[in-house]
């Protein structure tokens, strides 16, 4: 693989064609996703309903729709779920890509850096111990706990890695592992002493990840956080690229990485915390999607970022479809699906000759 040509799709027209193709596939997959479930709605009718809803009635007619209930099922139940899947996929892929650049390690994701463990500890605490009887906190308890956990751990990881000088990538990874382990053991401690079978079941279910709680009223916050994060990082390709070179080279190119590292960590913790709060722990997406995308577009973040986000969203839509259809009338936790798909893919990529974390 010595003569490998890295131009690939990373350059010129083919890139845009590929991006448009991806967007098209995402839209079709989304329509397919809303058409299946316990009630199967014909694809063409789903298409009409979705188009009608999206364009406020200008495109797509509801004349052919056989049943009024189809409208409700798609618009009230399945649409928010697909949008959730898309947003969570985008967010996970975003956090993975950014964290891999931040720690200059292609194996990084919110799990390696301890942020997911922190979110998990926060949620476990909320479910089994609780924040008291305040109405707001009991309603949003799990979400609040997960979010708080993510923010506190990422702060702790940052502080720990900054002890005795600049926060380098190695120190970040080590701090992440240590704090992650600490959070996991505290979570286990809470579960061990909890005398609450129902709560333990909730924790287990939540830790496997699920999109079942998707609804329109939860969508705006998730959408704002994920899309703002994505918009921010789509324009950070210069800094992200110099991050790949390491601190020393980055300084000679005029960019002081340690400030950017902190800023990026805080933004990704915010996104991770929000996602974990709404969907639980969904593994491997943040790790695997950036890898696959690098194989297609190369490691230059200018092209990589948009591709990763779209591929992440597409992947989650299909993971959600599988989780609902793999076993009839049973909905599998989506975290199981992503891990089952993700880990063999990851092993394949490591084993495949010539794959060198970049193209």
């Amino acid at each position: 693989m010595n003569e490998k040509d890295l131009s690939k799709i990373g350059m010129g027209k083919r890139y845009y064609v590929f991006i448009f193709l991806l967007i098209g596939i995402i839209l079709l997959s989304a329509v397919y996703s809303v058409s299946i479930g316990q009630v199967n709605i014909p694809f063409t009718q789903s298409m009409d309903i979705v188009l009608h809803a999206l364009t406020n009635g200008r495109i797509g007619s509801l004349d052919h729709v056989q049943s009024e209930s189809y409208l409700n099922i798609i618009l009230q139940v399945r649409m928010p779920r697909v949008i959730f899947a898309l947003l969570i996929g985008i967010g996970l892929a975003l956090c993975g890509t950014v964290m891999q650049a931040v720690v200059q390690n292609p194996l990084a994701d919110p799990y390696i850096l301890g942020i997911s463990s922190g979110a998990s500890l926060g949620a476990t605490f909320a479910i089994l111990v609780g924040f008291g009887s305040s109405a707001f906190l009991s309603q949003f308890g799990v979400a609040f706990g997960a979010f708080l956990g993510a923010m506190i751990t990422s702060m702790a990881v940052l502080i720990l890695s900054s002890i005795g000088g600049k926060a380098t990538s190695v120190k970040l990874v080590l701090s992440g592992v240590v704090i992650g382990a600490l959070c996991s053991s505290f979570a286990s401690l809470i579960i061990y002493f909890a005398n609450n079978a129902e709560g333990i079941k909730t924790v287990t279910f939540w830790s496997m990840g699920s999109l079942a709680s998707a609804s329109w009223d939860k969508t705006p916050i998730l959408a704002i956080v994920v899309l703002l994060g994505a918009a921010l990082f789509l324009f950070q390709h210069r800094v992200l690229n110099t991050m790949l070179l390491g601190d020393e080279s980055a300084i000679t190119l005029g960019i002081n990485l340690s400030a950017f590292r902190k800023f990026y960590m805080i933004v990704t913790a915010l996104v991770t915390g929000t996602m974990v709060a709404y969907s639980g722990m969904i593994g491997f997406v943040g790790l695997i999607i950036p890898h696959i995308t690098r194989g297609i577009f190369g490691a230059d973040h200018k092209r990589l970022m948009l591709g990763t986000l779209l591929l992440g969203g597409l992947f989650m839509i299909w993971a959600d479809i599988l989780s609902r259809t793999l076993i009839h009338n049973v909905e599998l936790p989506i975290g199981i699906i992503t891990s089952v798909i993700g880990s063999p893919l990851f092993i394949y990529m490591i084993v495949k000759r010539g794959y060198n974390f970049g193209g």
Partner: protein, 253 residues
């Protein structure tokens, strides 16, 4: 552009690595730093390109105070070819060289035609045109070093700092890289190991020993048997190389 470092002191932990060193690189001058391993050459260079903050001293590029200016402002004028070129991710040679344009770009500015011309020019100067689309990680050590040099050339610096740029390279790459740098006609400050190369390419030399300037002057003034013996603790005789007419060295222990 002139580079002036004055009275630089650097301690790491309790150890004094650099003691009161002053260095001057005049306009378009090729200045060499020689000295044994661990004498403080790299540390001194780091303080010049802002990777380390010296405890004492000042660094100026003409009238710009390097230690008080932003990294961006300095990197628009000062390019560095360092020793650290390891990466976990692969970029193409062209993308890698394009990163040299970073200091001249605003955050949201995209690469324009001019940047591509500058990158093309840098690739041409370093004989890398055929490698444009190759992956950086698939290259040999010498080729990688040339890519880094091309990146630094694309940065269009007025002064270039090189930290043992020809380490581990075979003789052809050593000559190629140093000739290429010499032909840029900008101020150069280079830490070098090979004394013959230093004699051939440098206009002025600083010999560093134990963090202090032991001798400085033109190569003929500095590279005397007495100085070399004191620097490296070896026996040394110099002679005029009958083929190149340059300075030659014969060593022994």
């Amino acid at each position: 552009m002139e580079l002036i470092a004055k009275g630089i002191d650097i301690s790491i932990g309790k150890k004094e690595i650099v003691k009161n060193i002053s260095i001057l690189v005049k306009k378009q001058q090729f200045v060499g730093l020689i000295g044994p391993n661990g004498c403080g050459k790299s540390t001194l260079l780091k303080s010049i390109y802002k990777s380390l903050v010296p405890q004492k001293g000042m660094v100026f590029l003409d009238d710009i105070d390097v230690l008080k200016s932003s990294e961006k402002k300095i990197s628009q004028r000062l390019g560095v070819v360092g020793q650290f070129n390891e990466m976990s991710f692969d970029l193409s040679v062209q993308q890698m060289v394009m990163l040299g344009r970073t200091p001249h770009k605003k955050m949201l500015e995209s690469d324009n035609k001019e940047d591509f011309v500058i990158v093309e020019e840098a690739l041409k100067r370093t004989n890398l045109l055929d490698y444009k689309h190759r992956g950086f990680l698939s290259l040999s050590g010498g080729e990688k070093q040339r890519v880094i040099l091309a990146r630094t050339i694309a940065q269009q610096p007025k002064i270039m700092v090189l930290d043992e740029p020809t380490n581990h390279l075979d003789i052809r790459y050593q000559l190629e890289i140093l000739s290429c740098v010499k032909n840029l006609n900008i101020g150069v400050l280079a830490a070098l190991h090979d004394l013959e190369m230093a004699a051939h390419y440098c206009d002025y030399l600083y010999a560093i020993k134990d963090g202090e300037v032991y001798a400085h002057g033109t190569p003929d003034e500095v590279l005397t048997p007495a100085t070399i013996e004191a620097l490296y603790q070896i026996k040394c005789q110099t002679y005029t190389n009958p083929v190149t007419n340059g300075l030659g060295f014969a060593y022994g222990i």
